[in-house]
């Protein structure tokens, strides 16, 4: 066997790595640290405190944040449920449907929202909603979120389904299950980790979307990202850092969960021990 290349021995490996890590994560670290700063300043350290976390929940702006958080959560949950159902159906059709006309085009269409710059989607969605006279508000945000969440839900679900041997469904149908029963009792349980991972990914993508939401939300409604953006426009206060830290923690938690779930119990291509 060929010896594996030890990447660590390449010249400049360490400085480049450190540079990347710093650029990527130092700002996040600063926000997290200063969210515990017992001072109005965002640059001078004034001691450790949970003051700004209290401020979010009890301060003068707490009602605004609470509404925004509620909107974000309910929209993310509904959008994740809807897009996961659509993505599951799409995955079964694409992976199990054999070769049908326009299959490549279909895949391109499904994954388009990932490729198209978000600002383009945002403008297009706004123009479209205005053209058909769709009132901007909670519902318009939800519809837009369902649409752009589909590819994110689709990818882990389709990946999982590709790893499941077709003979399981054949065996179920051979044992007198209708196509629907075979899907419900055999394929769904085997796909479950992929479906859950897709759901969590869609949830997090919806939760932290800003660009599209900001374009199509209409007046008088905020989600957490748009509320944070609105607050920052009047100057960065440490409570925004606290709020950002909470959102960051939730995101990290859910993405980590999604990663482990999609890895759990991955079946082989054959039914072997």
């Amino acid at each position: 066997m060929r010896q594996r290349i030890n990447i660590k021995r390449y010249p400049g490996f360490l400085p480049v790595t450190i540079l990347c890590l710093v650029v990527l994560y130092a700002p996040l670290l600063v926000v997290m640290v200063y969210s515990f700063n017992d001072s109005l300043s965002i640059t001078r350290w004034g001691g450790f405190s949970f003051r700004w976390y209290m401020e979010i929940f009890t301060g003068p702006e707490s009602a605004k944040f609470k509404d925004a958080a509620w909107n974000s959560l309910t929209i993310a949950l509904s959008a994740a449920v809807a897009s996961t159902i659509i993505a599951t159906a799409a995955a079964v059709a694409m992976v199990r449907g054999g070769a049908f006309k326009g299959k490549a085009l279909n895949l391109a269409l499904i994954s388009m929202p990932i490729m198209v710059p978000e600002i383009v989607t945002a403008v297009a969605t706004l123009v479209f909603f205005s053209a058909i006279g769709f009132t901007l508000g909670y519902l318009s945000i939800l519809v837009a979120h369902i649409v752009f969440c589909i590819p994110f839900a689709y990818l882990p679900i389709a990946a999982r389904l590709q790893g499941i041997d077709g003979s399981y469904e054949e065996a179920a149908q051979d044992l007198y299950a209708s196509r629907f029963q075979a899907f419900l009792r055999v394929l769904m349980p085997l796909m479950a980790p992929g479906i859950l991972a897709g759901f969590l990914l869609a949830f997090i993508i919806s939760l932290d979307d800003f660009i599209i939401t900001n374009f199509i939300k209409g007046a008088g409604i905020e989600t957490l990202p748009t509320a944070i953006f609105g607050a920052v426009k009047q100057g960065i206060k440490p409570d925004i850092m606290a709020l950002s830290t909470i959102m960051l923690s939730v995101s990290i938690l859910i993405v980590t969960l999604s990663y482990f779930i999609s890895r759990y119990g991955r079946p082989g291509t054959k039914a072997e021990a």
Partner: protein, 362 residues
Amino acid sequence: MSEQDIAIDVRNAVKRFGAVTALAGVSLTIRDNEFFTLLGPSGCGKTTLLRLIAGFEEITEGEILLYGEDIGTLPPNRRPINTVFQHYALFPHMTVAENVAFGMRRLGWSKADIEDQTGRILDLVKLGDLAARRPAQLSGGQQQRVALARAMAPRPKVLLLDEPLSALDLKLRQAMRIELKQIQEETGITFVFVTHDQEEALTMSDRIAVMSAGEIRQVGTPHEIYEAPNDRFVADFIGETNVLDVTVQRGPDGAWHSRLPNGAVFPCEAAGTPPQDGAAAHVLIRPERLSLVPEAESNSGLTGVVDQIVYLGTDIQYGVRLDEGPDVLVRAQNVGSDTTSFRNGDRVGLAIAPGGARLLVD
């Protein structure tokens, strides 16, 4: 035969995948209570035929009858036929008992009946104490038994087995051959078994269909297939065969003989349509029907030089370069005495056992 004697009647079945013809008009009757084997090299269409019977593939042309009823267009869940899959396809999220009960549940059996039958069938395959395990906790051989139990539990009219032993190691495979045959005899279910392993086919089957390139070359008992192959393909595929070019000659008593280019003549059996006197033909001789003798004692006129000796344990196989004609294989039982054995480079004659030469006209 009445409808009740024929389990499966395949009539002129054609299956095409796009431009590829997998089955080119196959007709076949499988009898009730029979252990029937579809045998052939990979790509010969045997698995396609099995999948047509199971309902996983749609038939392009032709009919499939199950006890007289046309099932060719029914989906797999409406056919009282179950399958043991090559890689078992046990449901990994269910226990052994749940796997076995799956078919009966879908058929709407009562809870008591399902429990009863699950217990009985797991005992039959000697897995009674593993009912609560998951497939991943079982060995390959145990998984194979669960797959068999799951397919037999709903009492199918026909059981299809798609190379179910191919994933097992040799010792286990040999034990399972005998056990499968016993289970088939005990339950009386018609088995249709697909394999590319000729030894497997010979040991278990009541009848064998040898397939090649989407067609059936011969159907018969193991004895018929081995002793009286219809053509060179069947003869080559089932065991090893020596093929010699000869001229047909009718003996004075009416019996068939082969004449070698060197003029030597030996008696042989004729297959199918009797060949014309003086026609060019092939003669097939199994290696174990040949034996090495001192050159002068040859009863066939075949003489040559030993140029290869392979020790096989129970047998010794000699390669002999004929003076006229191709190399032939000779297999002798290893009886352990050195006095009868021959060495590389020895000049030898070949003796053909009575009935061991079989005449074939192309």
